[in-house]
C-alpha cells in the first residue's frame, strides 16, 4: 500500500517524541504534521485525504480524551491512535469506547505503530468516501424547490403518490411531476435508491 497522500497528525507534548515519530513515519512515505498542543492541531486545516491522529493522552492544554470530544463536536472525523506513557487498562478501555482505533503504550516499535496506522488509514478512507457521498447528496437536496423537498420527505417516509396527493389536497398528476423531478435532481434511478439517499442525509428522520 502506498502511504503517499496520507497525512499522519501527531499530538504529543514531548518535542523529541514528535520529532522522532515524524522522522520515522516520513521514512515510510507518510506526510506528517506534528503538534505539541491540542489547540494547534484543532486550529490547523485538515484536508480531506486519508489521515489518522497519533495522540498522547496526557497533554498540557487539552487532554487526549477531551480533544477526542472536541473533534467529534466539530465533526472532524479522523481515526485516533492513542499513545501513552502510563498505559493502564481502564484508560485504554475508555479510549476504545470513545472510538479510538488503537491504544499503544510507550515506547512502541516501528512495527506496532505501523500496524496501528494501516487500519486507521483504511477507516479514514471509508469515512471520507462516506462523507463525500453525503455532501454530494446534500448538494442535490439543496437544488430541490421547497415543494419538491416536501414530496421527497413524504416519499422517503414510504408514502405513495396517491396518499401524498390526498394529504396535500393536490392533484395526483402534480405530485407525480414533482416526484419525477425529485428523482431526476437527486439522480436516483429507483425509489429504493432515493430512500437510501434520504437516510444518508438525515431527511427521513427529520420533522414533517
Amino acid at each position: 500500500m502506498s502511504n503517499r497522500g496520507s497525512i499522519i497528525y501527531i499530538v504529543d507534548d514531548d518535542v523529541s517524541v514528535c520529532r522522532a515519530l515524524t522522522l520515522l513515519l516520513k521514512s515510510h512515505g507518510f506526510k506528517v504534521q506534528s503538534f505539541t498542543r491540542s489547540a494547534d492541531f484543532l486550529a490547523c486545516s485538515h484536508p480531506k485525504v486519508p489521515s489518522c491522529l497519533v495522540l498522547d493522552i496526557r497533554l498540557p492544554d487539552i487532554n487526549g480524551f477531551t480533544l477526542q470530544d472536541a473533534m467529534a463536536a466539530r465533526k472532524l472525523t479522523i481515526p485516533v491512535i492513542f499513545i501513552t506513557g502510563h498505559g493502564d487498562i481502564p484508560m485504554s478501555v475508555r479510549a476504545m469506547k470513545a472510538g479510538a482505533v488503537d491504544f499503544l503504550s510507550k515506547p512502541f516499535t516501528e512495527k506496532k505503530i505501523l500496524n496501528a496506522i494501516a487500519p486507521a488509514i483504511l477507516k479514514s478512507k471509508a469515512q471520507n468516501k462516506e462523507q463525500a457521498e453525503i455532501s454530494k447528496i446534500k448538494c442535490r437536496v439543496n437544488s430541490l424547490s421547497p415543494r419538491e423537498l416536501e414530496v421527497f420527505r413524504l416519499v422517503a417516509k414510504g408514502m405513495l403518490s396517491k396518499q401524498i396527493a390526498r394529504k396535500r389536497g393536490t392533484a395526483l398528476q402534480t405530485i407525480k411531476v414533482h416526484r419525477g423531478r425529485v428523482m431526476q435532481k437527486m439522480q436516483a434511478k429507483t425509489v429504493t435508491e432515493l430512500i437510501h439517499f434520504a437516510e444518508k442525509c438525515g431527511i427521513a428522520s427529520s420533522r414533517h
Partner: protein
Amino acid sequence: MKKRTKNPVLKNKIRNGERVRLEGVVRQQADELKIKDRQLKNGAKKQIRSEKQIWIRTKKIDEQREELLHVTRVGKLAEFVSSLAHEISQPLTAILSYAQAAQRLLAGREPEVQKILSYIINDDQRASEVIQRLRSLLKKSAPEMKPLDINAIINETVTLIATDAGVRNTVIKTEFDKDLPFVRGDRIQLQQVLLNLISNSFDALENNQGDREILIRTSLKDVGTIFVEVKDSGCGIPAQNIPKIFAHFFTSKPDGLGMGLSISRSIVEAHGGRLDVKNNPDRGATFYFTIPIDKKGA
C-alpha cells in the same frame, strides 16, 4: 500525781484494764488498716486495669496510624515510580523511533552503522521492559468503594493526628453538618487526603505566633454532593503558586517530594469529586473538595 496510788494490787488492776483497752484499740486499728489496705489494693487493680485499657487503645491508634502512613508512603512511592516511568518512557519512545527511522533511511547501506542502530534498538527495548516490569509490580489495587460517613472519617483522621497536633500546639476544630448522607468512597484513601491536607495546614501554621487552629467543615453542596473544607490561618499560598500547587513534583517545602497534593487530587477525582484551594480573605488558605453521595444508599 494525785491519781498515783500506792496500792500495788490496785496498780496492777489498773494496768490490766489499761492493757485490755489498748489491745482493743490496736485490734480495731489493725482491722481498719486491713480494710483500707484491701481498698487500696482494689483501687490499684482498677487503676492498672484502666491504664492497660488506655495503653491498648493508644496502641491501636498507633497501629492504625502506622498502617495509614505505610499506605501513604507506598502510595507516594507508587505514584513517584509511575511518574518516573512516564518521564523515562518519553525519551525511550523517541530514541526507538529515531533509531528505526535511521535504519530505514540507511536501508541496504552502511552495514556497520546498521548494526549499531540495531544495538541501540535492542537496548532501548531492554530498558522499556524494565519499566514495564516496574509498572506491573506497582499496579495499584483497586480502591474499595463503600458507603461512608464522611464526618466519622474526619473524626477518625483527627484522632489519628491528635498527638501530632498536640506537639505542634495546634487545635483542630470541626464543624459538621450532622444530617449528611453517606458518600461512596475508599476509607483509607479519603483519610489519606484529609491527613495530607491537615499536615499541609500544620506546615502553614508553623510560623504563627499565637493561634494555631485548623477548622474542618462539612456541608451539603447540592443534592448529590458533599463539600469538605480544611481551613487554616497560616501563611497562605503565594498567588503565583496556586496554578502549580497540584502538579507532580511541585513543592514549596525544602524537604517536600511534591507528591501529596497531586496524589490527593487524583484520589478525589477518582471518587468523582474535585479538590481545589483558595486563599482566605483575611489570612491562611482553605483547601476544599467535593465528593458525590452514595446513590445506592440514598
